[in-house]
Amino acid sequence: MTPIDAKRPLQLNDQGQLRHFLSLDGLPRELLTEILDTADSFLEVGARAVKKVPLLRGKTVCNVFFENSTRTRTTFELAAQRLSADVITLNVSTSSTSKGETLFDTLRNLEAMAADMFVVRHADSGAAHFIAEHVCPEVAIINGGDGRHAHPTQGMLDMLTIRRHKGSFENLSVAIVGDILHSRVARSNMLALKTLGCPDIRVIGPKTLLPVGIEQYGVKVYTDLEQGLKDVDVVIMLRLQRERMQGGLLPSEGEFYRLFGLTTARLAGAKPDAIVMHPGPINRGVEIESAVADGAHSVILNQVTYGIAVRMAVLSMAMSGQTAQRQFEQENAQ
């Protein structure tokens, strides 16, 4: 399935508010900023003794994971629970589909259980978009990662991490390093950084792991790590996606680490106050040295905390947008 990238009309309701969250492509800067601002407020909720607000009380959020994930699934569960929603998680890869049920039928069944929102993760690019368009337009669909296409909540939690540590995006140099080809995180991050006004976005990786035509994202391409890291404020490391790799894209992991692994010595070329990010799970000694992952520049664990707040923001905003849309349609029908 080829993803169609002009998703803005589908994602927004008639008043321009979020009603699905499928991709960052085409979303305006104001909306991304609103997500970050709302997430900031939810971060404060996460720091309280009672980490729960009653916003989605009585709503049902259904996590439908066609592809395995621990961090994304658990942080979505926590986010929904902290909004007081009822949450069920289905690991579809291990249930109905193995018995031959189609994606369409699985979702229609979940819809019949009166779910108000689906968080969907799927190995095929465009799956969440397909569901929002053809299966259940009344249910808010949140993309929890689809194939190589997009991982918009990861993109936004990375933006929240950058904004909380660096204040703004206007004067930053940000480097995205590693397996760009297979990375939906890289794609979401490039789009978000561009929209939020980051002037210097660099992608660094071996030629075999850089997609053709990547320059269209308005990024500078480097195949030499030391050159690419020079004076950057933010380093976003990507996981080497061995499970998605087919054919001889890399000679070996050792070779990759020797050329593109982030070590203390290489990080020294970045700004002295640079931060190091990674969407996890990290492969120590493959893309990042332990001393860097656990070092003073690393904000990798902060990202996890911010991820819950960003997911709370997106869940509540999409629910809010769906409600507003239904009201709008009712008023127009009268």
């Binding site: 709302t38 407020s41 971060l43 309280r48 009653p54 629910m319 809010s320």
Partner: protein
């Protein structure tokens, strides 16, 4: 009917509040303003009390409102900031205009998620006497009765002023 001057109301409220706290033997209350108008009133009140340096908590009740399923999330929600303990403390909760009481209901719910206060004293600049919920202020600047299509808005932060709005002409409320 002309609207009262907030500065004059706040002077009176300060002395009423002092009397109220003295009657209850409350010596070190914690002040909390409800965003945004309530924060302005609380700041003015602390100034009138000669306590402008006292810690002031700010509450954003957007996550606790009961109209989420009708109106959705307020787009300019900001974090609540309470720079002190709530547990066991005497609180003075300040808002600008008390109408239905729903904002106060939401604020109390939020406060109780931080801890169990010893008491909550409610201070409002204006009471519009709409009384949809059994919530009354302990200290109030003035009570007004408005026509059904009228609202009052506090402008601020300095100087504070009250403005009458007509729902028939103002749609953005």
């Amino acid at each position: 009917m002309s609207l009262p001057n907030p500065a004059e109301l706040i002077r009176q409220m300060a002395s009423d509040l002092q009397a109220h706290l003295a009657r209850r033997n409350i010596t070190e209350p914690r002040y909390i303003g409800i965003r945004t108008g309530g924060v302005w009133v609380a700041q003015a009140l602390l100034e009138a009390l000669g306590q402008q340096d006292a810690a002031l908590g700010t509450l954003d009740v957007s996550f606790y409102r009961d109209d989420f399923s009708q109106n959705g999330l307020h787009p300019q929600v900001r974090p609540s900031e309470l720079p002190f303990e709530i547990e066991g403390q005497h609180l003075v909760l300040v808002d600008d205009v008390l109408m239905s009481g729903r904002t106060i209901r939401a604020a109390l719910n939020e406060l109780f998620d931080y801890g169990r206060p010893a008491s909550v004293t409610l201070v409002c600049l204006l009471d519009l006497d709409a009384g949809e919920l059994p919530i009354r202020p302990n200290v109030v600047g003035a009570t007004l009765s408005l026509a059904a299509h009228e609202r009052v808005k506090l402008l601020g932060p300095a100087p504070l002023a009250l403005e009458r709005q007509d729902l028939a002409t103002v749609s953005a409320l």
